[in-house]
């Protein structure tokens, strides 16, 4: 609650919270908010503000297949929020559990897991995404898998370092003497102590993953068409952008705004976690 109060006093955090809340609401109520079906052909390449044959307005224009851009942006909020949070959740589940095991048990298990993590970290991330998605095909599930491979090693490292440190504390020794199981010690003694650094990393990673979903869409490796996807919209409109800039400019503004909000929010959270009172 104190954290929340501190967030409300910082203008940049307030902006971040507002945009995040609006995006979440947009994603949840997309069918109500969108003026048109995002997949329906209305008027190909209509300019922003033009009126469709049925008398309805196309506020942001229509794309090359005549689909309403505003409606596609609204439904695209779902795509980016859903897949980036699923992918981040998967990376954290794998990274945290493997890091706990490696840090707590140490020895050969730690050596093996750390080697796997370092091998994966040796790939430039985009290279890893391209290889995984071109070999297994472009789909939501494969985005989650690719992001997990790229992201889990980083989470693993953080969790492992904390577990290594805490394992040798007195309260863990006390828990062992009391006959607590390894699983109980990891869940009740080690994990709560890792909450703050993990939370800071979670915020940052959520933002990066959302960018990744956009970039994959832009490279044609994201969700297959006709799913409304901001990155995909830019890729589709890129070659016609000279004549019809509205095809690409609105999805770019949408993704930049969301990313900016997330960065400002995670930055404020880190400031508060550090105890600094810089507004």
């Amino acid at each position: 609650m104190k954290t929340f109060g501190a967030l409300l006093r910082s203008p940049s955090a307030l902006f971040g919270l507002a945009v995040a809340a609006i995006s979440l609401a947009t994603a949840l109520f997309a069918p109500i908010l969108a003026p048109h079906d995002p997949l329906r052909t209305i008027a190909p390449l209509a300019l922003p503000g033009s009126v469709a044959p049925d008398g309805s307005h196309l506020w942001l224009g229509a794309d090359f297949l005549g689909r309403d851009i505003l409606s596609r942006l609204i439904f695209g909020t779902r795509t980016v929020l859903l897949w980036s949070s699923l992918a981040t959740a998967a990376s954290f589940s794998v990274g945290v559990s493997m890091g706990l095991l490696a840090g707590y048990f140490g020895g050969k298990l730690d050596t093996a897991l750390s080697f796997i993590a370092n091998t994966l970290l040796a790939f430039p991330v985009t290279v890893l995404y391209i290889i995984i998605i071109t070999s297994f095909g472009a789909s939501g599930a494969n985005i989650v898998i690719a992001v997990t491979f790229a992201s889990a090693p980083g989470v693993f490292r953080i969790m492992r370092a904390i577990a290594l440190d805490i394992r040798n504390r007195d309260f863990v020794a006390a828990a062992i003497t009391q006959g607590e199981s390894a699983l109980a010690i990891m869940a009740r003694e080690i994990l709560p102590n890792a909450a703050t650094p993990l939370l800071a990393d979670l915020c940052l990673r959520l933002g990066y993953t959302a960018i990744t979903v956009g970039v994959l869409g832009f490279l044609g490796l994201g969700l297959p068409p006709p799913t409304p996807d901001w990155g995909g919209m830019v890729a589709e409109g890129k070659n016609m952008a000279i004549a019809f800039p509205h095809l690409v400019i609105f999805p770019c503004i949408a993704i930049s705004l969301l990313m900016l909000a997330m960065s400002l929010l995670s930055d404020s959270l880190q400031q508060i976690a550090k105890g600094g009172s810089r507004a």
Partner: protein
């Protein structure tokens, strides 16, 4: 020190072997796929079978991997299906183009980021600090394809100052490099500036800087003579890590501006399922990443006398002023 380098080189070699196995398994475990990609989708099952038999694909998997590794180590990386050229002649050309692009981007962004970081960090909480910090966050959070669209909108379509694509079809052109470099600099400067700022803030609040201030040294003198050297340790090691960052991030920029670099090569190879070219590109990318990590570690040891990797450090803080 020598012991440290030798051990790191050994780890590097082990990582490379593991990576090569992963790449080979991902791309060549399913031999039917390999045959389809090489011969095209219109080849008959008999043709594929014949090709697979001719090229030894019916040998056991581990044997095939070791043979591939031996070929790879001796410089036989196979032929690109899409470009119809040896992989070993393709990669250097495209890698050189990327090195030019990334090198210029790095040469622009490093001094800019260091300057901004020092200016922001020398007086924590000042207006200048807040403005720089905000822009550092804002620019890093905009995806590169979006900033490429915004910058193209302004400088290409509105002001007509620069070309909107960089294929370099009629020879090398500096003008075509401006947009891709600008996008990379915009995306990369913020992070380095923030690292420099954090490092500078820490140094400025240290005891020896306070001492220098109290003995009457002027503010510029304290910043330039006392703080700067120690504040540079972290940023310099981070600069090294920008090389893998650039290698990963040139993909979007190169594809956007149709620049014929390493990122476009790998991207085209992947879209065309050009198995041998993907393998070659990936191995080159991994070598670059792992060796820059090694260089970054070495730079850290070299710049920071408090850190040694052979024996536990006994020296304590404050020695380097």
């Amino acid at each position: 020190m020598l012991h440290f380098i030798a051990r790191r080189l050994l780890v590097l070699l082990a990582t490379m072997l593991a990576v090569s196995f992963v790449v080979f398994a991902a791309l060549e475990l399913n031999i039917e796929d390999v045959a389809t990609h090489v011969l095209g989708q219109f080849a008959t099952a008999d043709q594929r079978h014949l090709w697979l038999a001719e090229n030894g694909y019916f040998d056991p998997f581990l044997y095939r991997y070791l043979r591939w590794l031996a070929h790879f180590a001796t410089g036989d990386w196979g032929r690109s299906i899409h470009f119809k050229e040896e992989v070993t002649t393709l990669i250097p050309y495209y890698l050189e183009n990327t090195a030019i692009l990334a090198g210029i981007a790095l040469a622009v962004m490093t001094p800019l980021a260091l300057l901004l970081g020092v200016l922001a960090g020398m007086r924590e909480g000042s207006t200048l600090d807040r403005v720089i910090s905000f822009f550092a966050i804002a620019t890093t959070s905009i995806p590169q394809f979006a900033s490429a669209v915004f910058l193209s909108g302004i400088f290409v379509f509105w002001l007509h100052l620069l070309p909107g694509a960089s294929p370099m079809t009629s020879g090398f052109a500096w003008r075509e490099l401006v947009m891709p470099v600008a996008v990379l600099v915009l995306a990369g400067t913020g992070y380095l500036a923030r690292m420099t700022r954090a490092s500078m803030v820490e140094v400025m609040s240290s005891a020896y800087v306070r001492t220098a201030r109290m003995k009457g040294a002027s503010f510029p003198r304290v910043v330039l003579r006392h703080a700067l050297r120690n504040a540079m340790v972290t940023p310099v090691t981070v600069v090294m890590l920008y090389i893998p960052w650039l290698l990963a991030n040139v993909v979007v920029v190169e594809v956007f501006f149709a620049y014929r670099g390493f990122g476009t090569l790998l991207y085209t190879a992947s879209l065309q399922h050009d198995v041998f070219l993907i393998e070659g590109c990936t191995m080159v990318a991994v070598v670059v990443v792992v060796s820059t990590q090694l260089l970054s570690d070495l730079a850290y040891v070299w710049l920071n006398p408090r850190v040694t990797f052979d024996t536990p450090s006994e020296k304590t803080a404050g020695a380097a002023a």
